[in-house]
Symmetry: C2
DNA sequence: GTCTATACAAGGATAGAC
DNA sequence: GTCTATCCTTGTATAGAC
């Protein structure tokens, strides 16, 4: 629990979120923290190490959300997604540079393509199948189920990227509600009566915020 | 119609698609073309100019598709989307760096946020409303329509990014069918009987390829 | 263990000789 | 139209002071 190290991580995340990982230089970050580059590289030998550390914090907080909020109803599922979206917003720099990080930062790539991606997919599949078993969702064929999982995954990963094309990096929080509504509507066609009630309750929550 | 200029554009697009715009240096491109950097900058003063030129070719080819293929049925719409996906694949480097280009390349940003984005949205809205009028689609509320437009837009922009996270940059063509199927399924819940027939015809086309 | 100073390589950009 | 030389910025590496 090194104080300087923690301060670097905290401030780096702030600047990365504000301007984008690629646009914050190590010298700039060091200057902002009132230290020299050499000192920064003492804590993080390379920029990739710093970004990897931040990415670990992100995946860990995501894991906590998954373990802390078991999905029993469609409402639970949508609510959990709201928490995941909020967490994504906190680490927006990672989601906005996902493709590049996976191609450039070998530690992130190895970690992500290893367990992170598998966990992500299996927990999503598990949730959907539980909602089907509990009669919140109903699929007319297996294809529908697989494709909703797939398009849900895409939407979760890239809503922030889409939002940046409309608004600036600084106003993303304002658009979150729209993309959560979109997610709810993705599931609506496959919802049972019970499921629709949950969706409407969730949408009501959103309009209250 | 300068031959050298055209050769540069052609080869740049190839290398950018292969490795990503950010990972192909001007020196590397020059060497590949058997010329010096200075000569390259004679034709394209900055890398941004080169990328902007490529982006113009992309938006122009997209516009042609829109004007050459008027949408009369849901099948037309899906087929047009297939052509747009194929064109996106040809210019994958742009779609894979969209967010960064919009934040970094001021000419692309100005152009895109000006007419390109408006055209994109208005032609999509126009198509959907025509399909509704011709009874291929039916929406129970206005919200459903707006949200399908929105999520369709997101899917079109980021299917390639999602594909890269699963496969390498080199094998994206293989995944296109999956994302076209996903698109068809996005519209399925809102399709009339007539619409469903079109969707099934389109899916049949896909499985033949 | 913590930090400064400095050097090196690579990439984009620019001026000017031919 | 082509090429050399040079500059600036960014990531990275290392020697050494305290």
């Amino acid at each position: 629990m090194n104080a300087t190290r923690e301060k670097i991580i905290k401030r780096a995340l702030e600047l990365f979120n504000l301007k984008g990982i690629e646009y914050v230089g190590m010298r700039e970050l060091a200057a902002d923290l009132g230290m020299r580059i050499g000192n920064l590289t003492y804590y993080f030998p390379t920029k990739d190490d710093l970004v990897f550390t931040i990415s670990q914090a992100y995946t860990e907080s995501n894991s906590s959300i998954h373990s802390d909020f078991p999905v029993r109803s469609l409402y639970d599922f949508l609510h959990k997604n709201k928490l995941l979206f909020e967490n994504g917003l906190k680490y927006q720099c990672l989601l906005l540079s996902m493709v590049h990080l996976m191609e450039q930062n070998s530690r992130i790539a190895a970690n992500y393509q290893g367990k992170v991606m598998q966990n992500r997919m299996s927990s999503l599949t598990h949730d959907i199948e539980l909602l089907e078993a509990n009669e919140y969702l109903k699929f007319s064929c297996e294809d529908d189920k697989l494709l909703i999982i797939s398009s849900n995954s895409l939407q979760s990963r890239f809503w922030l990227s889409e939002a940046v094309l409309t608004e600036s990096r600084q106003n993303l929080a304002l658009q979150m509600g729209h993309y959560l509504t979109m997610k709810a509507h993705l599931f609506r066609p496959y919802a049972t009566k019970k499921g629709i009630k949950d969706i409407e309750r969730f949408l009501l929550d959103l309009s209250d915020d």
